[in-house]
Amino acid sequence: MKKECRLLFDYLQDNLAERVKSAFEYHLEDCERCSSEVKKFREIEKGLDSIPKVKVPETFSFEVIEKIRERKRKIAGWYYYFAVSLSALVFFFFFVGVVGVKRVYANALAFARTLDLFLSSVVTAVATISSSLYNTFYVGRFTSVILILLFGVLGYGFFRSLKVFSKAGK
């Protein structure tokens, strides 16, 4: 390694005085190692320049922090619901242990029967009310077709109006 080779770093940063610089360039023609280093550096520089520059909005870091916080909160939510369901399960087994399996079974059966009754009554209510409603709309044999077409047209129109409203500025 020659004495001049130490100037390589300063040369690459363009920190040398004019005279020293020309002397170093003269040295470059002799020294294979330095010239290959310079070549490599210029290539890297070129590559870096060719990467498009991105302008970061001012709120960028704030938004990133917010996103991280949001993610953390979501994870906390899953943990929370997991804890709630686990404690409910523990409580349930404790309850079974205290009351006895037979009584819990009998109660569960009664509850299931009630639920069945409730659901069937809800189904009856829905069927009755909807048939009455259908009859009020009744205009002929093709009522159902007309209603479905009306539903489609109305729904599509509503969706279009949503889009128009969202695009219109304030």
Partner: protein, 274 residues
Amino acid sequence: MNRFKFVVVITICVLFFALPSYASRSSKLYIFPAKKVVIKDRLDKDLLVFGNDIVVKSEINGNVSVIGGTVFVEGGRIRGNCVSVGGGIKLEKGTVDGDIVAVGELFGKNKFYGFLLSTVFWLFAIGFGYFFFAENLKENAFEFADDFFRLFFFGFYSLIVLFVLFLISFALIQTGLGIILFALMLFVLASLYVFSVLTVFYFFGDIVFGKLKNSIPDILKFVIGLLVYQLIKMTSIFGFVVLFVLISASLGATLYSRFGTFKPWFGFQRFWGE
């Protein structure tokens, strides 16, 4: 497959499924009548009453259904089903040949159970909204407060259209295909309603805590909002009007901000060829 073909295929399928037509009786509809509906003559019709009681004193050859009221059968006879939602059924020397169903009688009679149920439900909803959609709700609440009047009119219009769509899908349950439409409408309406009401909660909480300089945890804002909501709900007609206006505007905001995301609906643009 382009958009036109897609629409045509869907339409043909839907019409094919809708064709099995339904044998109909005629039917009579009462929407929020000023006083009790009293039936004295024999009728060959279904009766459907929204928002008041009905007294049956004669024979009715059809179903009688009431939403938000009580059915009194006083010496009459109903040959079909008798259904009451949110009210009761009183039989005094009357008979019903079909099924007798009263759903939600307790909530009609005693307001306290309704209060309890709604509080528990909203507390669950607040937990869900806070943990998973907090940013969206905040964004939506900001939008809601920013452009209230325009959003109110838009929300009101949306409410009417959605209600009509819901009614049509409800009637279409008779054709089978309507069950899918009804489930879809129920899902859309429920998600819109829950999101809008949570936005109103956050808005209330922000009003209450807005003057404090220390930052308050968001979950507390939601809970205080729920408290204010329940208090307003207790004042009968005034509360109803205020909450109706607020929730309509909030619905408009939800639709405008697309659930607080500002992303395009469904993100289907490429598929739809736009």
